[in-house]
Amino acid sequence: MKNNKGYNLIILFCLCFLAVANVNAQSDWQAPAEENEKLSPFLFDDDMVLEGRVAYENSCTSCHGTPGQDDFTPMSPPPGDPGAEAFQAQSDGSIFYKIKMGRGTMPKFEDAFADDELWNIVAYIRSFNEDYKQELPNMEGVVIPEYAMRLSFDENVDKLVVKIFAEEVPQPEVSVSAYVMGTFGKHLLGKAQTNELGIAYVDVDPTLPGDEEGKINVMVKATKGFARAKLQQDLAMAKPTERHSAIEGRHIWSTDRMAPIWLKITFFVSVFGVWFALLFIVFGLRNIKKAREEA
């Protein structure tokens, strides 16, 4: 038992040391060298910045504030302002890695965003740095396969089937993410990897509300290395929605369809009736003219 106590002390000491070391380390967060040098395969353009902005505003503003405004949430270690010089001083690969892996209170976004979406966010963060020049990877000798994608729905197992080919050859191990496109942005349906037949399956909740024919608009992205593909398509894989007017059955005449016949008759009879009387008078003015000769 005595020994045990000694061990406990040592363990306690080690924990304290680790804690202090950790605090020190936190102020200096380094991505692994290999990750540090990673470059974006995509040229940061306005589209990427725009998509990145939406993602940033939804997922990052709460802690990091608006870039360039220095309004991040005070915490220890501080999240920092992505527009600030210190933040921008790191490489693209480092930012990418830190968002993807997280540390401590900085959440890990690996599961929330696909790689290309992470690069969107990096593009957005970089858009606050006027001096920034994007370094693109040397693509010489690298062959980027061009993906073709085919979508279908297997209603026996309620799965979205994504097939990926490059020049008719099935592509294994491609990361696939599928989204439902809504009026106010996209919602993740699921993520999967293609098997050796180039097929990935994504679960679909069959009770999803679709349009009148049960169609929903899905968008599927596929990425592997530098290769990527995107396809958006209407697929009948959800529950058909029968649309009813909110006032159906209750209204008398405020209908969306044709005006009821009684209303048409009332309207046109009154309008034409009045105008008939007016025309009668206008033409009757001639009679006044004729009547001038009367004795």
Binding site: A277, G284, N287, I288
Partner: protein
Amino acid sequence: MNETITKGHFSEEQIDKDLLKNVNWGGKFKLWMGFLTVSLIICLYYYYQQLQNGLGVTGLHDYVSWGIYISNFVFFVATSLIGMLVSSVLGMMKVSWVRPVARIAELVAVAFAMVAGLIIITDMGRPDRLLNVFIHGRVQSPIVWDIAVVVTYVVISALLLYIPMLPDIALCRDKLNNVPKWQQKMYKSLSLGWNSTAKQFRLMNRYTRILLVLIIPIALSIHTVTSWLFAMTLRSGWDSPIFGPYFVSGAFVAGCAAVIIAMFFFRNNYKLKEYITADHFDRMGKLLVLVALVYVYFNINEIIVPGYKANTADAKHVHEMLYGHDSVMFWLVQLGGLVVPFLLILFKPMRKPLPLTIISLVILAGAWFKRVLIVVPTQLAPYYPIQNVPEGWTGYSPTTPEVAITVASFILVLMIITVLAKLFPVVPIWEVKEDMNHKNN
């Protein structure tokens, strides 16, 4: 009743002379028209801007898509209803004191109704698509009814101004020899060869009577339908079954005030003190008391009933009005623009020409802002919260072009009234003479 109206007894020549005096193109007229024209051109420049850049130059947005243009439209339609009340309702009841001022009321009606239609067009971002309303209009839409009745009302009012004026136009044709050629020609063709034969009078009276009957349902429906544009929408503050009569009664208040102002102006500028007497003002003041009383009653209903039930949205609306965001304007309009003037004109001295005219000006201004209070606040309180939109969209304030275009509508009304009052006698000469003969016999 008649005796109190025209004190003096004049010869027919004297009457002709007095009442035809205003038909001329004097220097004062030219100055006034010049002023109006210049102002109109300035305002039209803003409309040109709006045509070029669209409704973006106004303060309108997704939430408040009806701003002062539509408020102004409602105000104009309202004011024009007075033609119906004075010439038709009172005319058919043989209330003879209104005869000398009936034409003024009709002038006001025609001018305001004509411009009301134009205001609707200014509220359109793409006026070039106006025709689509007629081609693709849906019979079940109150907007289509509104267009139908506004157009009809303009035509009826114009006919009702024109037909009873035939004898006077003939008088102009016969007596006015020193007016420009085109004007003489105009009188000649407009007078339809009027010769004061019995048959001509019979026809004129018959047509006038048909119009007087027709105009009552048309006038009632024009403003009822205007109120339905709001009342048929499920929105707090508009969702009210008494909106029709509420609008109509408010219309008479605004119209009476407008006619009183016009009467005062013509009486002083055209030296018509013997024809439009202090007694006319007294009676118009009493008429104003009556219609204001009805309107106050409807106003109380509009607040008391939803205020008691206090369902969520209506309660919010009532609170905003009574002591919330819109309360300053609300109390200014209700007390300053309606209740206090109403109480004042209960007293006879306040119904003298000058005080009554001043009070009418206040009432008319109040009536205009009242329309803004009806139209705008409701749109700022939608059932879904206003969120994720530009900051300015939580409120509404009209921009300079919007104000200028609204001012332009008033300038147009003044121009129409001015020109018509310079082309034709503003007091019906033959009716005054008829009255006089009637009395003398």
